[in-house]
Symmetry: C2
C-alpha cells in the first residue's frame, strides 16, 4: 500500500471538511419555526468526524474521470448534497438514539445531548425534521443535477436509513440487550445499524461520479468491509478508551449488557478481526480498477487505527 504513504489524508480531510461544514450550514434553515433551527444546528454542527461525508467525497474522487467542466460541476454538487444528506440522517439517528427511552445518554461529542439541552419533545422533533431535510437536500428545485440521479440518491438513502438498514439494525440492537448473540447475528445487526449508511456513502459518491458497474461492485464490497470494521473498532474503543477522549460515555456497552465483538470474542481476536476487514476492504478497492482511490485507502486505515 505504497499509495497511502505519499497521500496526505490530513490536508485532504481538512479541505473536504471545510466544504462539508459549509454545505451543511447552508441547508440547515436559520428561520425554522419556533426556534427549531437552534437544536437542528446544535445536533448537526456540533463537531463529529464526518466519516460518512468523507467517504462520499473519497468515493466521488476515486470515480470521477475526464468529465467536462459543466458536468463535473453538477456531479460535484450532487456529491456534496448527498454527503450532507447522509450526515443529516446520521445526526438525526444520534439525537433519537440518545433519548431516555433508547440509550439514555447525556454526553455526545463532549457536549450535553440534544434532549438534555432542549428537552425531549424538541429532540424528537429535531430528529424527525433532520430526516425530512435530508430528502429536501437531495431534491433541489432549481439545479443542473439530473432528476434521475436525484431519485436514485433518494432511494439509496431511504433504504439505507429504513427497516432494511439503520433503523432495522437499531431495532435488533434494542431487543438484543442482555441476550447472547453469536457472531453471525452480531454482524447482521451491525451490517444494518452502522454498515448500511457507511456502505451507502461509498455507493452514493460513486453514483455521483458515474462509475462503471464493475467498479461499483468492488466499492460495495469495500463499503461493507469498512462498515463492519468501523463497528468492531467502536466496540474495542468502548473498552479501551476514556470518555474524555471518546467524547461520549465509555464503558456503556458492558454497563448495559449489550453484546459486542469484544464480549463475544475477546479483545485480541476483535483487534485481529478489524485488521482482516481492513485487508478485505483494500483488496476490493484494488480490484475496482479505479486509480484515484488514495483517499478511500487512507480513510479505511484511519477507521481501523483511530483512538476515538
Amino acid at each position: 500500500m505504497n499509495v497511502t504513504q505519499s497521500f496526505d489524508l490530513e490536508s485532504w480531510s481538512e479541505r473536504a471538511l471545510l466544504e462539508i461544514e459549509s454545505s451543511l450550514k447552508r441547508w440547515i434553515p436559520s428561520d425554522a419555526p419556533a426556534d427549531l433551527s437552534q437544536p437542528m444546528n446544535y445536533a448537526v454542527l456540533g463537531g463529529g468526524k464526518r466519516l460518512r461525508a468523507l467517504l462520499v467525497l473519497g468515493a466521488f474522487e476515486a470515480g470521477i474521470d475526464g468529465q467536462s467542466q459543466s458536468e463535473y460541476s453538477w456531479r460535484r454538487e450532487a456529491a456534496l448534497r448527498v454527503a450532507s444528506a447522509i450526515e443529516l440522517i446520521h445526526a438525526y439517528s444520534l439525537v433519537h438514539d440518545d433519548m431516555p427511552c433508547m440509550d439514555n445518554d447525556v454526553l455526545r461529542r463532549g457536549k450535553p445531548t440534544v434532549h438534555v439541552q432542549y428537552g425531549e419533545a424538541m429532540a424528537l422533533l429535531t430528529g424527525d425534521t433532520l430526516q425530512a431535510l435530508a430528502f429536501e437536500v437531495l431534491t433541489p428545485e432549481h439545479s443542473s443535477i439530473p432528476m434521475d440521479l436525484q431519485a436514485q440518491l433518494c432511494g439509496l438513502i431511504a433504504r439505507a436509513a429504513g427497516h432494511k438498514g439503520m433503523a432495522g439494525g437499531q431495532a435488533i440492537d434494542l431487543t438484543s440487550v442482555g441476550q447472547r448473540l453469536d457472531e453471525h447475528q452480531l454482524s447482521f445487526m451491525h451490517k444494518l445499524k452502522t454498515g448500511a449508511l457507511l456502505e451507502a456513502s461509498v455507493i452514493a459518491g460513486a453514483l455521483c461520479a458515474g462509475v462503471s458497474q464493475r467498479a461499483m461492485e468492488s466499492l460495495k464490497i469495500f463499503g461493507g468491509a469498512l462498515g463492519l470494521a468501523f463497528q468492531v473498532v467502536d466496540d474495542i474503543l468502548d473498552v479501551t478508551a476514556e470518555s474524555a477522549v471518546l467524547g461520549k460515555t465509555a464503558g456503556k456497552d458492558a454497563q448495559t449488557d449489550k453484546p459486542t465483538y469484544v464480549s463475544l470474542m475477546g479483545l485480541d481476536a476483535a483487534k485481529h478481526k478489524a485488521d482482516v476487514l481492513l485487508v478485505q476492504a483494500n483488496q476490493a478497492l484494488m480490484s475496482s480498477g479505479l486509480s484515484q482511490s488514495d483517499a478511500l485507502v487512507a480513510i479505511a486505515l484511519r477507521v481501523v487505527n483511530r483512538s476515538y
Copy 2:
C-alpha cells in the same frame, strides 16, 4: 354544487380505500428485523379515515385525461404510491405525537397508542422507519414511473413533512401551549402542521395526473383552504364530540390549554369560518377548469360536515 348531489362518495371511497389499504399492506415489510413489522402494521393499518390518500386519488382523477393505457397505468401506480407514502408520513407523525414527551396520548383510533402497546423505544423507531419507508415507496427500483416524477414527488413530500411543513407546525404547537395566539399565528401553525400535508396530497395527485400549470394553481388554493377547514373542524369536534365517537381523547385541547379556533373565536364563529373555507375551496376548484372534480368536491363537503 349540483355535481355532488349525483356523486356517490360512499361507493367511490369504498373502492378507493380498498386500493389504498392493499397498497399500504404491500409496502409494509412482513419480515423487518426484530419484529419491527408488528408496530409498523399496527401504526399504519389500524384504521383511520385516509383523508390524505383519498385527496391524492381525488386530485388524480380530477386531472387524468385521455392518456394511453400504458401511460394511465404508470400514472395510476404513481398516484397509489404517493397516496401510500403520505399516509406513512401521517402515521409516523401520529406515533411520535402521541408519545409521553409530546401529547402523551394513550388512545388513537379507539386503540392503545403505539408506545402503550409496544413501548416508547419501539414507538420512536417505528415512526423513524415509517418516514424512511415513505421515500422508499416513492423510489421503486424497477418501475415505469419516470425518475423525474419520482424525484418531484420526493421533494414535495419531504418539504411538506419537514421544517417548512408538518414538523415545523408541530414545533410551533409545542411551544405555544398556554400562550394566547392571534388568528394569524394560529392559522400559520395549522397551515404548517396539518395543512402542508393535506395540500401536498392534492398537488401530488395532480402531478401524477400531469395537469396544466393553471389547474395546479387552483388546486393549491383548494388544498390550502381544505387543510385549514379540516383543522377548524378538528377544534370544533374536540369540544362537541365524545371520545368514543372521536376514537381519541376528546377535550384534550382545553385540558392542556392549547390555543384553538374555538378558544380564540368561540364555537359559532369557528363553525362559520369552516363554511367560508368550504366555499373558497369549491370556488378554487370551479376555476381550475378540471371537469372530473366530483370526488374532490364531495371530500371537501365531508371534511366540513364530519362528526369524527
